[in-house]
Symmetry: D2
Subunit: 397 residues, 4 copies
Amino acid sequence: MRPSSSPAEPAEPAEPAGSPPPGLFDEVLARGPVRAAVDDRAWLAALLTAEAGLAQAQAGLGMIPPAAATAIAAAAQPAQYDVGSLAVDAAGSGTPVLPLVTALRQRIDPALREYVHYRATSQDILDTAAMLVSRSALAVIRRDLETAAGHTATLARRHRNTAMAGRTLLQQAEPTTFGRKAAGWLVALRTALASLDRVASTGLAVQLGGAAGTLAGYQEAGPALLHAYAAELGLAEPVLPWHTDRTRVAELAGALATTAGAAAKIARDITLLAQSEVAEVAEAAGGPSSAMPHKRNPVAAVSALAAAGSAPGLAATIYAAMTQEHERAAGGWHTEWRPLRELLICTGSAVSWLDSCLAGLQVNDAALAANLASMLTTVALREPAEAHTAAAAALVD
Amino acid sequence: MRPSSSPAEPAEPAEPAGSPPPGLFDEVLARGPVRAAVDDRAWLAALLTAEAGLAQAQAGLGMIPPAAATAIAAAAQPAQYDVGSLAVDAAGSGTPVLPLVTALRQRIDPALREYVHYRATSQDILDTAAMLVSRSALAVIRRDLETAAGHTATLARRHRNTAMAGRTLLQQAEPTTFGRKAAGWLVALRTALASLDRVASTGLAVQLGGAAGTLAGYQEAGPALLHAYAAELGLAEPVLPWHTDRTRVAELAGALATTAGAAAKIARDITLLAQSEVAEVAEAAGGPSSAMPHKRNPVAAVSALAAAGSAPGLAATIYAAMTQEHERAAGGWHTEWRPLRELLICTGSAVSWLDSCLAGLQVNDAALAANLASMLTTVALREPAEAHTAAAAALVD
Amino acid sequence: MRPSSSPAEPAEPAEPAGSPPPGLFDEVLARGPVRAAVDDRAWLAALLTAEAGLAQAQAGLGMIPPAAATAIAAAAQPAQYDVGSLAVDAAGSGTPVLPLVTALRQRIDPALREYVHYRATSQDILDTAAMLVSRSALAVIRRDLETAAGHTATLARRHRNTAMAGRTLLQQAEPTTFGRKAAGWLVALRTALASLDRVASTGLAVQLGGAAGTLAGYQEAGPALLHAYAAELGLAEPVLPWHTDRTRVAELAGALATTAGAAAKIARDITLLAQSEVAEVAEAAGGPSSAMPHKRNPVAAVSALAAAGSAPGLAATIYAAMTQEHERAAGGWHTEWRPLRELLICTGSAVSWLDSCLAGLQVNDAALAANLASMLTTVALREPAEAHTAAAAALVD
Amino acid sequence: MRPSSSPAEPAEPAEPAGSPPPGLFDEVLARGPVRAAVDDRAWLAALLTAEAGLAQAQAGLGMIPPAAATAIAAAAQPAQYDVGSLAVDAAGSGTPVLPLVTALRQRIDPALREYVHYRATSQDILDTAAMLVSRSALAVIRRDLETAAGHTATLARRHRNTAMAGRTLLQQAEPTTFGRKAAGWLVALRTALASLDRVASTGLAVQLGGAAGTLAGYQEAGPALLHAYAAELGLAEPVLPWHTDRTRVAELAGALATTAGAAAKIARDITLLAQSEVAEVAEAAGGPSSAMPHKRNPVAAVSALAAAGSAPGLAATIYAAMTQEHERAAGGWHTEWRPLRELLICTGSAVSWLDSCLAGLQVNDAALAANLASMLTTVALREPAEAHTAAAAALVD
């Protein structure tokens, strides 16, 4: 499998200009750049990119006239298509690809129309578009994730020697440092980053196989076309068409659920540290309350938890949908579409909120010291507390 | 708990005029009337209905001036509010209620503004709106479910004596009748209907408690207000405010997941019966294919399966979110919003598709007979096949 | 559907004598009486009860000789069978019923052997046994649940006027009372109880239909046998055999997941209230730590959370397994067995631990007062705190 | 992170002698070598291996007397411990480690007892043991997976040119070959293998940190000890103790769920191909039926589906349990234990059954040809069918 990181010209979906207004809960649960990366306009752009890329690859191999590829690329402008109409027509065949192909054909010279979607099947285009959309989404998620990781690294450095009470089962237990705690967060985020990067670099592949996944329409040129298509879009080249082998979608889901879980752990810690009775941290911009103007809620951490809470169930849906029949599934494939989008959104939102939560997180040294002192009055430590915190500090380096 | 079925005037959310166009996958995975029942405009209407209903109940008890309730009702017109702006402002507090209250206040006489959202908390309004939205959604889901059940009843009657091969582990096993099979579908749908109806009649309750769920803002009149509020909206009156007791949301989720599962079982049977090699049924309007014009796909059954496939994971998310802290959760409550909406959508879509699938389902008597005959050549039945099918036919009555 | 509460003689599975030792994690995650209620010996007893009950019902209708029913009942002694051997032989057919029938036949007069499992199918017996096992498990779960509810009622009464800080988003918010908090717990547990009772009284039904679910083997006497069988075992009589209509299993799963969630909410509250920095409650018997002898961990609450955490995923598995093919599923039915058992165990364990946690829960009045006082210094309450807490206290009645 | 593949002497848990008899459903749902790899005896052995390995590493660094390590190793014989007693005593502290340490100490010279579990915390040992158990389980799962992959490779080669009907949405669509189908299975299994191997080689790490995860008990020698401990057990060395960073458990869960899904897809295909009406394949050893002696059920494929069906929900449980508080979780950690074991079991069982299913799978050339011929009478192929199947055959190389 060819890594997707070395395309000649990575054909990114055209950037949609002017975002639609957010939905009612979107600024809480579909926050940050991931929303635009996976919305209908991004999907439409990706579908058109997939069709144009296929035509380009086919022209390169002499399968269709160069003029057809040029015409298709020219017609593949998202702004010219109406998502609502495509959506309505999708009901007949079960996917929006067929109406999109019809609409695309109407926009080009009749003599060239037959070369649109040439010998491809709907799933070829939709799966390829799903990979393009996922690539864009992963790119923005990983950017926020890296920023968040940077914040934890800063906290780890800055609070290398800031002693505090370590807590097990929500009971004060032994001393640690704030730096050690932040370093633990950092390691989890780095694991998540590595997981996303692995999927992004080798897991996102073009789809092309024709109805039965045999590349039959392209005769002996099939494998070469698969290769050229992958190169054209900067996606990995699969060993075989993967219409009903959903392992790559499953690995994407797993990496996202792991990322959401890593973010949730940190957000949980922060909501606990921000409790009125603990008061060791506060968000830079805590949120107001409709009933209690005096409160400063850890809105970012709470929202990160809220978003991340959807990930496990969505990943389960994608795993369960892997049981896909024969050459195209009778349901399982379609099942993936909303959960995959939702999983990208909730993971991206969790990371975006985590980023906000950690940026400028206020660490209350006095509270840390006071809680630690309180603990030390009740704990008969076997070793001096200084040794404990020094050990924790050493772990940060 | 007072059943919600006996309100003086059930205050339904105002019907939104003119539906927005569907999203790219909506006609497949968010199909039928449920989409409009749970969309942002329905939510906005429900939030306003909740505020207006509260004011009405408070005015009835003399807590606020009647003029305030009148003014609030007049200002509670969804068309006057912009979802996008409310959504943007929601980020600060974590819910859209605070910006909505602000917007509502701006639309009424300054002297009466203090009576908007009088001594309520955001969750009071949002949870009440969620119940109103769920009520509307359940109403349309149950309507489609009843229609689908009617179709199965028709099939059970019509094919009472239509013998066919019964299949276990996907192997032909013993004779049954098509009527018996359809009767089994009917029983499952009736169980689902009963489950939805139970939730609709007693599980959907108003929420009112103020910040800490004590009804403290209303002094000794709190319980009377809770009662009046429930009557005003035609929802059940809870024993106590239920901000962090999410059992009623869980029961709603369970009824929906059960319904989706019942629909999926039928749709699976139909996709299997519609296989080329079995050919015992065909959908009245099978769908075309982009690559294979000759095929007649069971698009409705496939789409029902596709929609239903999301339900188990979404229900799990709602169950997992029940672990809500103290008087308001730090994440778990917000987590519910998207999964609850998604669960209503996917269940409603599955039922809507099932309805289409069953309406005019073509039963191929010749194929049924031929497959049965084929089975009887290889099966040494212990009793005459007629006895078997007669037993099955008798079960249909 | 006949309610299962009025059998002439409810044929409970014979009580297994002498429990096997617990597994390594069982006293934490499979705690209390539910473990024995669902273990292999309970299953074996239930399978034998199902066979004996069927024979009894058949003899009553003159289908088989009375002597056969007597002989089968005599041979249906769990102690005479070896679970391990049955299990090994189960691999061939996919269920342990076939080897059990073989073993049962070997224990009776050859002339009567044909009347064992007379014209039934494996799933008839296994599903009926699953219902018997579930009935036993629900009985012990509801007993612990009722005890736990009783504890919360006691706390609600005793602390009716014990003021404390109410907390939203883990921030101190407004005053409430400990009694109000406990009353909220009580309401959730009562909802769970009602849910379990509804399932226990109408959802648990005998299964009988023969291979294709037609009752064909019993000719015209099928429905009467179904009725008699249900009466014999004290289970509900289904409208039709439900081999692939799994709505009743789904409703059982939903009630269990709801119960686990209700328990988890309370346990979460207690772990939070027991934090070193909050110290408002302590378990009567907190647990020791291998590294920190000074700690008193809220082991019961933590263990309740640990057990309950498995419920959502298990319920999802059962919902997903509802998509069962034709007259017997090719996988989905078998899939239920372990998750259903696990779901009964984890819910029962959570409730058992909750019971221990609440029994003798120590409420620290001084800490409650101190935290409330601390809150009141920072909160500019719109009303006197007394009004708030009086409102909360009033909710408890 | 150091890969675990280069230990001097990989200290495998002692092989338990003589397996306990299977549980009632075990030969169906907990099949193959994975059951013994994760049972209580394997866990006990792994816990003892973890304690002995820690002592060995500590002795190597001069932290404890060499005699202590020798004595501990000598006492760490699983056969000397009673799981039931340890389990009973586990209830007090929430884990079986504390009672095991007590039991271990009783078996050695009082003067050396203090060196047992020297400055470790329960979670250090339990997590390390979980990694050892997972390593053993992954080893047997991958072995079966490789065998299964070998079977698919054989089918792909043997049936390279065996034309058959390709099916989409369960409708005959276009020609493919059996070899192409089998090659698709192979690719999915290889992806699963790569996923398991990645986790096995870098994801399974020792745990060591002491109560607060600071390595404080070991002063400045902590990192060296972590390194030596990892080398001793042949596990990866983590960057930091990972008590509440559960990303590595999540990645393990994801790899298992992906594997189960890949197995389920193949098993679904086989149950469909084995349908009476399709009859293109048959299992070498189909299973009998209690009611229908004539049937030959695809028991292995059905059982593979049955086992795999549990994986998505279990993975979701593990993802949801990642939200672990501070330095040790109040519930989330304990939650993992049963689901992780169950997930290993169900994945291993699915793979084991798949192996049986594929071994000697009978491919019915006549049925393949007949179904294809039937399809070609109704399909107006745009290209000769030979081209399609040639393309499919070419993909197999």
